[in-house]
């Protein structure tokens, strides 16, 4: 078995496809044929390289030479110069001034589109059910080093110096959190891993637990050593059966190898981990609610202080971090605070995992350095918007966050910038929306969510969000008045100002963000009684275009409420008073005679 000498990899990502992709591909094919190279050189289409800005792109495998902004007429030169003569075509190389050789240019290009996988370092690389594979990638060596060479304070200092901040929401400095828990004296303390990933549209914690459970176990043990806790608890969503299964296997293996249990790696340190299940309550992502839930109660948050570091699980000092935060820890220990803090921005160090979803081509999980721009994430790594539609907005921070628009595309992503722009980092969900999404409807979607997920304890969240939702519903149904915008705004501000926990304090964010950035859409619903994106059913009208209607009766037969009348071979009509806007007629009509306004 031999590998073909050379392969030409042609990016088949959406945005490259749009720029004469077929022509380039065909020209390359022709060139190879012309030179009789079909057998010795390969030509294949690949998924998106994530360098869409410089597309169309081509890579020569295995040389790692990278051509950007390739035109169909370049095919000849590429084949003749590079494939046949082995000389990179300099003018097409990724354009970095200091670049000399093709390979270096390729590396640069790769770096340019490159993600840095720290938290995800082992995901998709090792067999998560085999501890040896984890060990072979420096697994548990951070724990070993900490136990062998470092005091808890030394270790906490490294975490503090690294600048690592909580990856679950507000971004509290992790080292400081550990220090607080350490400073509260108690014979019993707990380390809790929050794996109750409640943000609908985020799945990085699930992926880490499914792909690399040991990294979390190792970090929890390190945390236990630092704060003086002998027990760890993982609070995990019951909706993640595979993650639970793999975590259980990993815990057992870690015990078997002596990374959990008594006298870990011959030290005086003992640590064990238990699993507690969530049961479908978004609010349990809030630390105090999570703790009440672990204690077997309703997951209602309580006022802080006291912080869990003072009085947490069973009233004992408790440190809660989320999965992604923990997954960073072993790397920081082994590679050092300096290395970690060299990545990212001034106040947001390291990388962040994002779950790209929605109307984006490369839906997936990415890990990028803090400070990267939204544009790079969405249009390069994410491959741009599906079906060539127009980008409208991206929701970050889930139901607690807000939407960011075209004008935010070049903002560097870090905790502070996102908050300043009216959104938040959250756990890292990024839902991309295109021109077909109605922002009023989208705000209502999130309010539906918060209304359903509010614990009911405090007035602003329990009743306020309900009223916000009702106001949005009123607007979506075409019954809104201009003063409703003011009411939405005022109510949102007070809910944020008075709610008890993070859920309530952030629940109006989607409303405020859409009000700020898409006020015109609200006005269109209220004044013109129109939904510009064509989403809000109540504002749609179905009509039959006379010229196109052939009188096939398909629509009339499909209509569930008998709103369509008309004789066979005659033009049909829709009675707007009866129409329930189900869209069945539109679906059935083969003659484009049904239109929606």
């Amino acid at each position: 078995m031999t590998v073909k000498k050379k392969h030409i990899l042609v990016c088949n990502g959406t945005s490259c496809q749009n720029v004469a992709h077929d022509e380039i591909f065909n020209n390359l094919k022709k060139e190879l044929q012309n030179h009789g190279l079909e057998e010795s050189a390969g030509l294949v289409r690949t998924a998106c390289f994530g360098l869409c800005e410089k597309g169309p792109v081509i890579e020569i495998f295995p040389d790692k030479v990278f051509y950007v902004q390739v035109k169909p007429e370049d095919a000849k030169e590429i084949v003749e110069e590079h494939i046949i003569r082995g000389k990179p075509v300099k003018r097409l190389l990724y354009n970095e001034p200091e670049t000399i050789s093709g390979k270096e240019s390729g590396e640069k290009a790769r770096f340019k589109r490159k993600q840095i996988r720290i938290a995800l370092r082992n995901c998709g690389v090792i067999d998560p059910e085999n501890i040896e594979e984890y060990i072979s990638r420096y697994g548990y060596e951070a724990l070993g080093r900490v136990l062998d060479e470092m005091t808890p304070s030394d270790t906490i200092r490294i975490i503090k110096d690294s600048g690592l901040r909580g990856r679950g929401g507000a971004g509290f400095p992790t080292g400081l959190k550990w220090e607080l828990a350490r400073n509260n004296q108690n014979d019993q303390k707990y380390v809790v891993c929050n794996a109750d990933e409640g943000d609908p549209g985020a799945f990085m914690d699930r992926s880490i637990l499914e792909g690399d459970p040991h990294s979390v176990i190792e970090a929890m043990a390190i945390c236990g050593y630092c704060i003086g806790a002998g027990k760890g608890l993982v609070y995990i969503r019951a909706e993640y059966p595979l993650a639970i299964e793999r975590l259980k296997i990993a815990i057992n293996q870690a015990k078997e190898f002596g990374f959990l249990g008594r006298n870990i790696l011959d030290s005086d340190f003992h640590f064990d981990i238990e699993i507690r299940y969530g049961a479908g309550a978004f609010v349990c992502g809030e630390e105090t609610a999570l703790i009440h839930s672990m204690e077997g109660g309703r997951g209602e948050p309580t006022l802080k202080p006291p912080f869990p570091a003072q009085s947490g699980y069973l009233g004992k000092p408790t440190n809660v971090n989320n999965v992604e935060t923990f997954a960073n820890v072993p790397v920081i220990i082994l590679k050092g605070a300096k290395w970690f803090s060299s990545i990212g921005t001034e106040k947001s160090k390291g990388t962040k995992v994002f779950a790209l979803a929605g109307k984006i081509n490369n839906v997936g999980l990415i890990e990028v350095p803090m400070g990267i721009t939204l544009r790079e994430v969405i249009f390069e790594i994410g491959g741009g918007i599906r079906n060539g539609k127009k980008f409208k907005a991206v929701q970050t921070g889930g139901p607690s966050g807000g939407c960011l628009t075209g004008k935010h595309l070049d903002l560097p992503i870090d905790y502070e910038t996102l908050v300043a722009a009216g959104s938040m980092m959250g756990s890292g969900g990024m839902i991309v929306m295109d021109e077909d999404d109605c922002m009023v409807d989208f705000a209502k979607f999130f309010l539906d969510f918060t209304v359903e997920e509010s614990c009911g304890k405090c007035t602003p969240c329990r009743i306020g969000n309900k009223r916000l939702n009702e106001l949005l519903d009123k607007i979506c149904k075409g019954n809104g008045a201009m003063e409703d915008i003011e009411r939405l705004y005022n109510l949102s501000i007070v809910i944020k100002d008075t709610a008890l926990c993070g859920l309530g304090q952030s629940s109006p964010n989607p409303v405020l963000a859409t009000l700020n950035h898409f006020r015109n859409e609200y006005e269109a619903h209220i004044i013109d009684k129109k939904c510009p994106a064509g989403v809000c059913k109540a504002l749609m009208t179905y009509e039959i275009v006379e010229e196109n209607c052939v009188g096939c009766t398909a629509c009339a037969r499909a209509c569930p409420v008998g709103a369509i009348t008309g004789e066979r071979k005659e033009v049909h009509r829709i009675d707007p008073r009866l129409c329930i806007k189900c869209g069945a007629c539109l679906e059935k009509c083969k003659f484009n005679a049904v239109i929606v306004n």
Binding site: P200, A281, E295, A357
Partner: protein, 161 residues
Amino acid sequence: MSNIKVELKKYQVEQIKEICKSFGNNPDELINVLHKVQGTFGYLPAEVQEVIAQELKVPVAKVYGVVTFYSYFTMLPKGAYPISVCTGTACYVRGAETVLQEFKKELGIEVGQTTDDGRFSISCLRCVGACGLAPVVMVGDKTYGRVSPDMVRDIIKEYSD
């Protein structure tokens, strides 16, 4: 006064007691116990909650308070093939709503209901973490990705023999 008639066989009550015992009859483990019992019986009717309350020595009002707090717990039996439509954000923007409508139309039931023959029930859930496949539908443990309304009939057909 109020004697509870448990609509369960004696051995089933024993099963519940066994589960409670396996968690040391520890009230802190209430949620884990409820998970396990629901896993065994499919749902958590009032009588079952009474037994759990007695075993863990907590007021049954508390058990009920917990059961009604978490969306994962149900007091109604689900269909033999419970259909869960993900209505997380990613699925929503990719059209989960129309898929849900189609299921409701095809089966003639609303969310939270079970078909008369007891085969299907529909529920919504918030994100299974498979956003890459949005919209996502689960039937029992099986996940269907990139579901469009016209796939609905075929999915139902798979379970209607």
